[in-house]
């Protein structure tokens, strides 16, 4: 144990000599100067404007890290929007599929920061806490961070996405109205893993609306955005509550299809009557519209998914043109949404969108 003693003495000496320290926290840097901006002078000829705008994006690298890319319409859509707008200007847009693996997402972002292989990082945050350090580190490394679709505990340079809380309230109001019409009170909520921004806003806002309307949330279940899990949860809930249940509030359209199938199956088994249990969700692509047509999904708070790609693209260009140090400003931009059902879904361009 002599070795241990020596080791102890060495460590203690190091501690005394160097002290215990923690890393410098990154704070907002000095506010930028106007002259740093691409369009510092408001008077510009058309040719100049175009040249400067395009030139500012030339050679810029945009890294997009969604929680899932392959086979997922939502994120593929945004990726395509970014590419068609930015690549002709000479920018490079690369996507890194995290494949629903938080560890992989963290490591991917760590590598991007280490290699400084991006000028703008577009993050599709997997939960509200996990990327807090990465957002700070990226900004420190001189990379702009844009969070999309889900808010995080740390703001990057910009957030672009839906106001999920408001959408949840609106679709909850629609479900409450339907339930009251049926004279039923029980509502079941199915969210994602429960710790992401969307889940938290979805659950808290629906619970509040339901409570205010005098109805009951019978359960909050986590699907982890997995179709099979969502379907199982729905089947079990239906088995338990049968016709007492009035509505499933399912976070995101993809899982609502699986829940719709479970309800349809329960109807087939005679567990509930057709139209007894409604399925309400968030976002509506063409597949959900088809499902609404077939009666699998009752209504959706459709938000401007296709517009979001464009909004992100606009934000990227603004950040580059403003040319302020990353982390010096924080903005939050919400997209619009509208509650649709099969009667009016084709009236609004935020619903029934197709994959690019």
């Amino acid at each position: 144990m002599k070795v241990l003693k020596v080791l102890g003495i060495v460590m203690a000496t190091l501690l005394i000599v160097t002290g215990c320290s923690v890393g410098e926290s990154s704070g907002p840097s000095d506010s930028g100067k106007k002259s740093d901006q691409v369009f510092a002078d408001p008077n510009s000829t058309l040719t100049d404007t175009v040249e400067k705008a395009v030139g500012s994006m030339d050679g810029k690298r945009v890294a997009f890290v969604p929680l899932l890319l392959k086979g997922y319409g939502l994120t593929s859509n945004w990726f395509e929007s970014m590419k068609i707008a930015l690549e002709p200007m000479g920018a490079e847009v690369t996507a890194y599929d995290a494949n629903f693996d938080p560890q992989k997402m963290v490591s991917t972002i760590d590598q991007i920061i280490r290699d400084k292989s991006a000028d703008v990082l577009v993050l599709h945050n997997i939960d509200v806490g996990i990327l807090v350090n990465q957002i700070a580190a990226a900004e420190k490394a001189g990379i702009y961070v844009i969070s999309v679709n889900m808010l995080s505990n740390r703001l990057g340079d910009a957030y672009v996405g839906p106001n999920t809380g408001l959408a949840a309230s609106d679709i909850a109001d629609r479900a409450i109205a339907d339930c009251k019409a049926k004279g039923k009170k029980n509502i079941s909520i199915i969210d994602g893993p429960g710790n992401d921004g969307a889940s938290i806003e979805w659950v808290t806002n629906i619970e509040r609306q339901v409570k205010e309307a005098g109805l009951t949330v019978t359960e909050v279940a986590h699907s982890n955005y997995d179709n099979a899990t969502a379907r199982e949860i729905a089947a079990t809930t239906l088995q338990k509550q049968k016709s007492d249940l009035c509505a499933f509030m399912v976070l995101f359209d993809l899982n609502s299809l699986a829940v719709g199938d479970a309800v349809q199956e329960a109807v087939g088994n005679g567990l509930v009557k057709n139209g007894d249990v409604g399925v309400y969700t968030f976002s509506a692509d063409a597949a959900v519209c088809d499902a609404m047509d077939q009666g699998l999904v009752t209504a959706s708070a459709a938000y401007d998914v296709t517009g979001m790609g464009a909004a992100v693209t606009a934000t990227i260009q603004q950040l580059i043109q403003m040319n302020q140090p990353p982390g010096s400003f924080h903005t939050v931009s919400f997209l619009g949404h509208r509650v649709v059902d099969k009667t009016d879904m084709h009236n609004y361009n935020v619903a029934c969108w197709v994959n690019q």
Binding site: S21, G23, Q103, Q111, G129, V132, G194, N195, D196, H222
Partner: protein, 716 residues
């Protein structure tokens, strides 16, 4: 080469080329026979895999990899200790999840102070490990199935906790302790790295240097033996799982600090990561063998593979697939390498070499000097049926005969009738060469033990049994493994032949068939230090100080020759031939009273044995496929004794043509007009009366160059 070799290089005497110096099969055997090779091969392969992964991940991946290593490495350490103890712990990932999520819930939802949360996470891990330990150690359940069940149970518990507090644990509540664990530095090194390397060093020392570590290794190697040796195997088993659990708990705490992951998949799949890492690090799945340092390298490799898949943008499924493949390959390697390594080393060990002998001399001329006679047949026996295999003998000043035999005893037969034999000393080894030193101690070459001295009272003491090990040699040649014959020089040095650095005394036949330059001649200084004076000798056997005390004669049994090594005078350090291409295999050489030398042949060359010398591959097959008594070897059962002069001319040859009394003579000693005949397979010592013409004025038993050796009046 002087740095690497010691003494005169005798290899050129074999007639072989430079390529014949290297025994490739044997070198491989030496290499794979090393105990450290058990882990070195998988580790080297793992490092190759690691380098490939590194080339894909980018060379500046270091800090990222070390961040991950400080969490996952703790799991590898814990799992290594469990596996060295003969178990397995699949629940490590679930314990990480439980500790990580519980620590976040405790701080963010239950508002517990961090002073409780930090030790609480480690304690929770230890507690879950205790459950594993009790089920396996006390209840006697199988480790694999038990920890598979607890993997599901602990993981399920963690997920339930996450589901219940999913919103509360996402609160951005911070604490200085989290901050320190995440970003704190000690002397510029991140705290998490310091914690990890601290744990690594402590566990490594404990596992390799403490009783606790030896207990674990003993239990993992053989539970039954461990129990019989009084090791509390139940307690040891419980302890290793508690340690593994506690380290997983610590890992979970660090993970919570670094990433703050609050999703239900935290910790999932870490059991595969940890298991692959330790198997890559050469930790045996069979228990009893493994090192936490190597397991750490294994974990680093696994992390590099992960970083490479991320860097290359490979889909998520690639990483577990690559891990599973690596685990499979290395598990098979562990099984097969562990099983066949020693076997292969044993097979490759015997690697016959090439020596060049001259044309077989014709000794069949009935009128020639080699003509058969029955002179030795007439020699009366001493100690018939009492002595068993005296390879050499010595005769004291009082005329007593001292004869070591193969039971390790030294007999003393008092002259002049030699009927009364008593055991004079016991050495414990195979007693071979005998000589007197100037102080009248009997110096003995004891096969398997070294060189010993027996004082006039029969007290045995060690003269030397080690030499300096050859530098950069895989094979440990520091032991005097097979001291064969010896003699004393005027300065008191003892020159001893070590006939093989490799073969045991009982396997001398192997040396005759292998014919490699495995032997050497060693000088033992009067102060007890040793030096190698000649190396790469083929079966060096007889050693005799010349009458003038300036050189020693060295008989090379394997090369059928005698050489002179100058030990003083102008030619000191040089070697020159005395007799070459002898018709037999020379054994011990001793001085004659008339200024000449006596020598015995242990065997005679035959056309068939000479033919075999030319074909090492045939000898290799013979060693592998035939039992030792079916080997084709030189003609052993002859008894040929010859006298030669300083120039190597043969003066006289004595035989026992009956081959009954003295079928093999290995040494002859002259004393007062008689020649005493010793034989390693004989049940007697012969006492042959010399012709008067053979008797001179010198005392052959005295150390040359000393007063005692001065010629005296001849005894006639």
């Amino acid at each position: 080469m002087g740095f690497l070799t010691q003494g005169i290089d005798s290899f050129p005497l074999t007639g072989g080329g430079w390529r014949d110096r290297f025994a490739s099969g044997r070198a491989l055997s030496d290499l794979i026979g090393k105990r450290w090779m058990e882990g070195a091969v998988p580790l080297t392969l793992a490092l190759v895999v690691g380098m490939i992964a590194l080339s894909f991940a980018g060379s500046n991946v270091g800090p990222l990899a070390l961040d991950e290593l400080s969490e996952k490495g703790l799991l590898a350490i814990g799992l290594t200790v469990v596996m060295v103890g003969g178990g397995i712990d699949l629940s490590v990932g679930a314990i990480v999840a439980a500790a990580s999520l519980t620590s976040l819930v405790a701080h963010r939802a239950w508002d517990l102070p961090m002073l409780l949360v930090v030790p609480g996470a480690v304690l929770l891990g230890a507690l879950l490990g205790l459950i594993n330990g009790l089920l396996i150690g006390k209840a006697g359940m199988r480790p694999f199935i038990t920890t598979l069940v607890t993997l599901l149970a602990f993981g399920g518990g963690a997920r339930m906790l996450q589901a219940h507090y999913s919103i509360e644990i996402t609160s951005p509540k911070q604490d200085y302790v989290w901050y320190v664990l995440r970003e704190g530095r000690l002397a510029g090194v991140p705290i998490a790295w310091v914690i990890f390397f601290g744990v690594l060093i402590v566990v490594h020392i404990a596992l390799t240097r403490s009783r606790w570590g030896w207990w674990i290794t003993a239990v993992g190697s053989d539970r039954r033996s461990a129990r019989r040796n009084g090791i509390p195997i139940e307690r040891v088993t419980v302890m290793v799982y508690v340690l593994s659990g506690a380290l997983a708990g610590l890992s979970g705490l660090l993970l919570a600090a670094r990433l703050g992951r609050t999703d239900p998949t935290v910790g999932q799949g870490l059991e595969l990561v940890a298991l692959t890492a330790v198997v890559l690090g050469g930790v045996s799945l069979k228990g009893g063998r493994g090192s936490v340092l190597r397991a750490t390298i294994g974990m680093l490799v696994v992390i590099l593979i992960f970083q490479a898949t991320v860097s290359q943008g490979l889909e998520g499924a690639y990483y577990p697939t690559i891990l599973a493949l690596a685990l499979l390959v290395f598990a098979v390697l562990d099984l097969k390498w562990g099983k066949y390594r020693a076997l292969a080393a044993g097979k490759l060990k015997n690697d016959p070499g090439k020596v060049v002998l001259g044309a077989l001399p014709d000794i069949t001329d009935p009128a020639g000097i080699w003509a058969l006679n029955d002179k030795l047949t007439t020699a009366p026996p001493i100690g018939l049926g009492v002595i068993e295999g005296a390879e050499d003998i010595a005769i004291g000043d009082d005329g007593s005969l001292y004869a070591g035999d193969r039971r390790g005893w030294v007999w003393r037969f008092a002259g002049p009738d030699y009927t009364d034999g008593k055991v004079f000393a016991r050495t414990g080894g195979l007693v071979l060469g005998h000589a007197w030193d100037a102080e009248k101690n009997l110096v003995l070459a004891v096969g398997g033990m070294g060189v010993y001295k027996v004082d006039p009272d029969g007290e045995v003491s060690l003269a030397a049994n080690r030499v300096r090990r050859t530098r950069l040699s895989l094979f440990d040649d520091s032991a005097l493994r097979f001291a064969d014959d010896l003699d004393v020089a005027p300065d008191g040095s003892i020159y001893v032949s070590d006939f093989s650095t490799r073969t045991n005394a009982a396997e001398y036949m192997l040396e005759l068939v292998e014919l490699r330059a495995n032997g050497r001649v060693v000088r033992i200084d009067p102060d007890g230090s040793t030096e190698i004076v000649s190396t790469n000798n083929v079966f060096p056997n007889g050693i005799c100080t010349s009458h003038d005390g300036q050189s020693i004669l060295v008989a090379s049994t394997g090369l059928c020759r005698v050489d002179r090594l100058w030990i003083s005078g102008p030619k000191q350090g040089q070697m020159e031939p005395v007799m070459e291409n002898l018709p037999g295999y020379p054994d011990n050489i001793n001085r004659a009273s008339d200024g000449n030398y006596w020598m015995a042949f242990v065997a005679m060359r035959t056309p068939s044995s000479d033919l075999l010398v030319k074909y090492p591959d045939v000898r290799r097959r013979m060693i592998k496929e035939l039992p030792v008594d079916n080997w084709v070897v030189p003609q052993m059962n002859v008894s040929c004794v010859l006298k030669f002069n300083e120039n190597g001319e043969v003066l006289k040859v004595l035989w026992d043509s009956s081959l009954e009394k003295y079928p093999m003579v290995t040494s002859v000693k002259e004393h007062q007009g008689h020649l005493f005949l010793a034989g390693v397979n004989n049940n007697r010592v012969g006492r042959f009366a010399l012709d008067p013409e053979d008797i001179g004025p010198i005392d052959p038993g005295a150390v040359p160059g000393t007063e005692a050796a001065r010629p005296k009046e001849a005894i006639r």
